[in-house]
Every structure is written in C-alpha cells, then in structure tokens.
Symmetry: C2
Subunit: 467 residues, 2 copies
C-alpha cells in the first residue's frame, strides 16, 4: 500500500516514539548544570552520551569538542547530492540549576510523564528540542527511501549556554571550517502557543554581571555604629533602585545608545497576534504587568532592552533577627539587549554608572560574564519559507511570526559563519524554562520531529528560489 | 596586718581570679543563641548553669523562670539591714549567632585567652558583664566582713535579649512584686575606652521587622518575561532605597514624630569627649563616615534615631548566574529609637509607608519583633553618684558620662518597677559585640568586679542623700 510522504513520516514516528522518549528520559537524568562547578562531570557525561547516541542514529561523525569550560558535541552527516546546501543545527545540552525544594512536584532529574507532558529540567530547554532532530532525520530517510539526508547535515550542541556561552565564540572561530554552513537552524526557542504555531525571527542579547559591595571589614553592631557609617546592603539596594526611572526605563546613562527602534510595521505585526493579557500573566505566574512606559507587553519582552535583578544578598538571612550592619552585599544583574546595542559599550556604561552611584566607604567590584548578542532573521530568505512550510505541514495550519525575549549565542554563528539563522522551536510559554516543573508537551515534541523530517527535503528543493 | 577596704577587695579578687575565669569560660562554652530555634536547649542549659552557679556563690534564692520563649534567671540575696535599698541587677545570658566561618580566628564557643583578652561569643555581651557581679559580691562580703550584702540584692538575667526580648515585659509584669527595687543596675553596656571610664546615661530603643515580598508564584525566566512584570528583588531594593532621603534622614512619613531633640548643653557635653574620628572608624571597621546631615558622629549613634538594613535576600545567590526573576525577596530592618518615639506609632508608620511604596503585583507581609523602648537616667540621682564614685575607685580616675547607641529592655524595668535605671558596663568599643572575634579585656573585667564590690556599700551609705 503506497503512502504520501507525510503519512510515511507520521507512521515512522508513531512506530519509534517509545524508544525515542526512553532515550530522551535517559539523557534528562544527567544533571548537566553548567553554572555549578560540582556538576562539571555531569556536563561531560551528557556530551559523551549525546555523541554516542548520534552515532547510533547514523551520523558517520560525532565528536565531543572540549573547551576551557564544558564540552560541546559536533556531528556531521553528508548528503548524497554534493550541490545540496549545508545546514548546521544548533542547540545545547547543559541545563539550568534545579532542586526539588525550589517547588518541583517531582525530582527535576527524574523524568516523569503526567497528562501528556514530560516533566524534567531540560525537557524543553533544550534537550527535548535538540533530540527531536535525531528521530526527525531517521523519519526523513525512511519516508524518502534515502540512506543519507537531502542536505549536508551538521549539529553543534554546546555545553555552556546556561552559563552565558563563555567559550562558544572561540569554539566557533576555531572550528569555522568544519562548521561552515549555508544556513543555521537554532532549536532553542519556543512558539506562540499550542494552537498558534509560529516561527521566531529574532532573539534578544544578554549581558550579565555581579556587583560585589564591601563596607565594614566585618559585620558590626547596628546599635553601636548604626546611622554613622555606610551600609553595603543599603548601597546595593540603592544601586538596584537607581536601575530604572519612574517610567520603568533603564536609567543607566548610555544604555539605549545606538538601539534599532521598532518600526510602525513591526509594532502592527505584534499587535495582530492573539495576545490575551490574563492568559499571559498566568503563564508568567505574575500578578500585574509592569514595564517601560509607552510599549506593549510583547514589545517589552521581544524588542525592548531590559535590566533585571536575578539575585540580591547581604547580611543576615536566617531565622529571627541579627542587629548588624553587614560587611558585604551583592547583586546579580542581567540586561537583555536588542539590535544595535553593543555589550562592550554596555559594560563600560554600567561600570561608570555604578562607580558614580556608590557612597564613600563602600568598595566595589563588578564581574561580567559572556554576552550573547541580539540577532534577527532576514524575513525574505527562502530558507525561512521552507521552515514555515515544513512547520505548517506538521501542524496542519499556517504559521505566524514572532520574536523571542530570551538570548542565545546564535548571533555568533551568524557573524562567524556568515550564514542566516533560523529558529525551529516547539516549546510553549507554559513549559517553565528556568523554573520549577519544567516540561515539554509530548504532542508538540513529536510535531518537532515531524517538522525536522520535512525540512531537509524542502530546503534542498527550494534553496535556490529567488527571494 | 590591717588593710584598707580597697586593698582588701583587690587582694580577694587576685586570689579568686583564676577560678572566676574558669567558671566564666565554662559558661561561654554553652552556645545560648536565642535567635536560632535549634539552640533552644542550649539557652535552657545556660539558664540552669547560671542558677546553680549563683547558689554556689551564696545567693539563698536562685530560680529559673520560664517564659513562652527562653527562660530567665532570678536570684535574691537579702541584706542584713532591713532599711537598706533594694537593687536589681539586669543582664542577659543569651548571645548573638556566631560561626567560625564568619571570620573568627578561633571557635566562638571555645573561649581562649590571647594577649590579656578573653575571646568568645558572649565574652562582653553579656555573660562577662553579668558574671563579674558574682565575684564582686563575694569581694564585698570578704572586705567588709559581712555575711550578707549591704543592700537587698536581686538579679534578673534574661534569655531573649538578642532576640528583642519578646517576653520580657510580660515577665517583669508577672513578677513585679518579687522584682520590686529602688534602683536597677543594668550591666549590658560599655564605656568610652580603656583610658576613659564612663557611665552611660541612656540607650536607644529598637524596633525590628522583616518585610517579605512576593512576586511571581515561582522563579520565572528573565528573558521570556523580563521587562514586563514586577520583580520582588527590585521592589525590595526600592523599598530600602526609599528608607533615607538625600540628607540620610529617615524618609518614612511620621518617623520623627514626637522625638525629644538634643539640647545645646547635651551637644556641648558630647563635643567635649575625646573623640578621635580615625580611631572610631578603625573600631567600626569602616572606611568612611556616613549619616544624617547636621549631626556629629556621636550624636548620630547616641541620640538620633536610625533605620538600618540588617539583611536583604532574594533570587539566586549561588556561584555563576541564573537568569530568573525571583519569586520572593525579603529585607530585615531595624530602627533605633530615641526618647519620645513610640514603637507602636513607628510600626503603623512603617506599614503605611511600605504599602505605599510597593508596585501592583507585589504582595507583602511585615513581621515586627519586640520593641525595647529608649531610656535615660536622671543625671541628679544619688545612685548615679554612687556608681560614678565606685567606678572611680576601681579605675583610679574620675569617670565621665556618655550614652549608648544600642538597645535593651531597661526601659521596661524603669516603667514597670518605677525605679531609676543605671548603667554599669566595662566593655570597650573594640570588643566586637555581634561581630566575629568578640572579646573582653581581662583587666577591665576585673575592674568591673571591683566596681561591683564597692557599689553596694556606697549605695547603702548614700541612698538618702538629697539630690
């Protein structure tokens, strides 16, 4: 009995879904938390596991690439047509910190399926979305009767994305020849909702820093000395309070220098999306909107730069009270950047601003992490049309276009490899990235497999389409 | 060979100092940290130890008085003259939290003597200063040939002073008849310096609170939601920043209502003390002065009300970074109060101010602790002259008068018992109260013993002096 290509793909996926999910669960059990030094062996184990699994999938080449930090995985499967385009899939195998006591209903590194959802740290961000490509390429081969993909397929799965990708740029530069590609597919974003599949066309950049403040050489008695010497916890608080003005605009001088402002057309496109404020607030687990005056919520999270406190600490935090002026305090800040913002310029602006804010007698130091740049996909690229078509076939509905508030090192790939970057993600906002009870919807995960299965054929066939 | 009373006292102290210090060290080994619930058994053990030791000293009555929190110790030794005044000595047997890793050079609950100083948590605040009365009364008896003291002597040593004395007022009210006294001697303060013995004539009051802020129901991704919802760590910081205006005056509306301002004469007396700014900063382990505009450092710490942050926390404080908007944040604040300020009025003012400052979408709750009131000793009371004379005999030099920035429940005793409060303390600013490496100078500790040995005779003899 003959099948359409689509039904052949679906049949193949249906036949292999159990093994696919078992393998994914095995990977999710590895707590590859790159931000915590004691998990470094787990991040290495995660890389080894993935390289072995990619070989098993059929990739002739699958290698663990060391970095001065956590290792990346590179894999390559040449296509049978030498003229076919080369596509590089990007994702990451490291995850955010997670602990049961943060509010998880089950162990974060013990995957469980409840109500059609797979719960585990990394289920959506990003192991699930990396892993759907493995079954995707097998379904593509099975449905088309090929023994190698319709494109030259490469994968680069890094191990430090959740730590700000401090060695990623160097890694890409060192291996630029082996990574060379005509297009980059980033599978580390989400879509609008279960009912509204979308392709993301841009991500914000990120700059992170920790500001450490030093007051008295040790904790001192707040009765004996209070009111007469500077308190570093107060200084930390005043610094954070000075981050925003009364319109919730970032008040660091020079912060907005050079940014590409939203056009009227972009603002219209955002406004056309079926945005439900109450639903969004539920997803955000928040109880009010709050942000830069003059912009909508979607504009604020997708296209405006921000400053947020990720952590603040100083003095006594245990039970009861302790009447001290603390010796030290610290704040961890992150800034989301949009096109036109330069991380080096931002760092300089933050340093000048902090030094200007702090009172005499409070010493400080600022440590900056790596800074993934913002990026945007050209809307008229034929590969974007291939991606939208493949996703439409999988979901049975036309796709729309969004942006993403989060950040990734995609801009480095675009810059070093000179290739356009496309975003293929099936995660939804309720998946709880970086939060307790992170999950992925199993239905959507399999739609990701299906999109991946259609994409390589479509890309190969339409690559030379005029824009 | 006949002796002067003073040399008899000194000889007695010299003969018994080793046993006295051994006993004190045994008491200091009990980590009676009232603020930490897991140390509750230690606080009880400390009370039992002290009651037993007071009996051994000769007090016919020594009882452990339970409270809904930590127990106090009461002891009584009636004098042989029924017309003698009754004196109540106040101190506390609980201590501040302490851990080696906070910066101690030796274990905080393993007392050691180095260079004539006894290092341990509680050495100065307050076990050492309570304990000198035990040898003091024995020396008084030995030097005068008495079998009971020249005054009716009572001790009340509470167990919750470092937790804000939440049950002290009730305890004093419940036992007002047994505590009845003509004067209260508080041994829980310090003096100007080793070379300048002083009597303190007033303490600031204290009000403490913890403000807990709740934003998103769980930590959320700062890329996906950042810039569009309120961040509780930012709200905490803005609250703290709003505590003071640009003149470092407390900016809570109503904060200064009703306070007794310093008179010109008081300001002159403060200005006459040998204040060395650089030396004071070294003692404060601080690197700049900072405080309310228009006041000197001594005025700021002794006679002006303050607001200080004792602790602040929220979000990720571990190594590396975590790009979240935290779900919760908290600040611990303490306010020092001066005469005329009403803790109940302050609590109301803080609640109104906080509610007014916080943005929509941030829920909050405020928990207030107990609030010891400020107090002042009448300068013309004959007991104050007895105290100054006794101290002068012990130190061989006239004493001056100061105030104290810290707080204690002395005002409750003054109020409930209707008795004047006097302060007998031998601690010096470098003793490191509430800080790592707390210590007491052994020479000064023994001057405390000596002062205590002279005081009861002098008080009995001069009690009826006209002011």
């Amino acid at each position: 009995m003959s099948q359409t290509p689509d039904s052949a793909v679906r049949t193949y996926i249906e036949q292999h879904r159990t093994a696919f999910l078992d393998d994914l669960a095995e990977w999710l059990r590895i707590p590859s938390v790159s931000a915590q030094p004691d998990h470094a062996p787990d991040v290495r184990r995660s890389a080894d596991w993935l390289a072995a699994k990619l070989k098993e999938t059929g990739f002739p080449t699958a290698e663990v690439w060391p970095t001065p930090g956590a290792p990346a995985v590179f894999a390559e499967w040449p296509g049978d047509d030498p003229d076919a385009p080369t596509v590089l899939v990007y994702g990451h195998h490291d995850v955010q910190p997670a602990a049961r006591e943060d509010g998880w209903d089950s162990e974060p590194f013990e995957p469980v399926v409840r109500d059609g959802r797979l719960y585990a740290r990394g289920a959506a961000d990003d192991k699930g979305q990396v892993f759907f490509h493995t079954l995707g390429v097998r379904a593509h081969l099975a449905a088309t009767g090929r023994t190698s993909p319709a494109v030259h397929l490469k994968l680069l799965i890094e191990g430090e994305e959740e730590s700000g990708s401090p060695h990623f740029r160097q890694l890409v530069e060192d291996h630029a020849d082996r990574l060379a590609a005509d297009a980059v597919i980033v599978s580390d974003t989400g879509m609008w909702s279960e009912d509204t599949p979308t392709v993301c066309t841009g991500m914000r950049g990120l700059a992170e820093c920790e500001i450490r403040l030093y007051g008295p050489d040790q904790d001192i008695h707040s009765g004996s000395f209070g009111g007469a010497v500077p308190n570093p916890a107060t200084a930390a608080a005043r610094l954070v309070a000075a981050l925003h003005d009364e319109h919730a605009r970032v008040a660091i001088p020079g912060f907005y220098d050079g940014i590409v402002e939203l056009t009227d057309r972009e603002r219209e496109l955002f406004a056309e999306l079926p945005f439900d404020e109450r639903q969004w607030l539920r997803t955000a687990r928040s109880h009010a909107l709050h942000g830069e005056a003059g912009y909508t919520t979607l504009e604020r999270i997708w296209a405006r730069p921000t400053a947020e406190v990720n952590g603040i600490g100083g003095g006594y935090q245990g039970p009861g009270s302790k009447t001290i002026i603390p010796s030290t305090a610290m704040v961890k800040l992150s800034f989301r950047l949009v096109a036109g913002q330069d991380p080096a310029h931002l760092e300089k602006a933050v340093r000048a601003w902090a030094a200007d804010q702090l009172p005499a007698g409070i010493r400080h130091e600022i440590v900056f992490g790596a800074a993934p740049r913002p990026c945007l996909t050209p809307l008229d690229h034929p590969a974007l049309q291939s991606l939208a078509r493949s996703m439409s076939r999988a979901f049975g509905t036309p796709v729309r276009f969004t942006r993403e508030g989060g950040s990734g090192p995609a801009a480095d790939l675009q810059e070093v490899l000179g290739a356009p970057v496309l975003f293929l993600g099936i995660s939804v906002p309720s998946d709880g990235w970086h939060a307790p009870n992170e999950k992925v919807e199993l239905d959507l995960l399999l739609k990701g497999v299906e999109t991946s299965a259609y994409l390589w054929d479509d890309l190969a066939g339409h690559w030379r389409d005029a824009p």
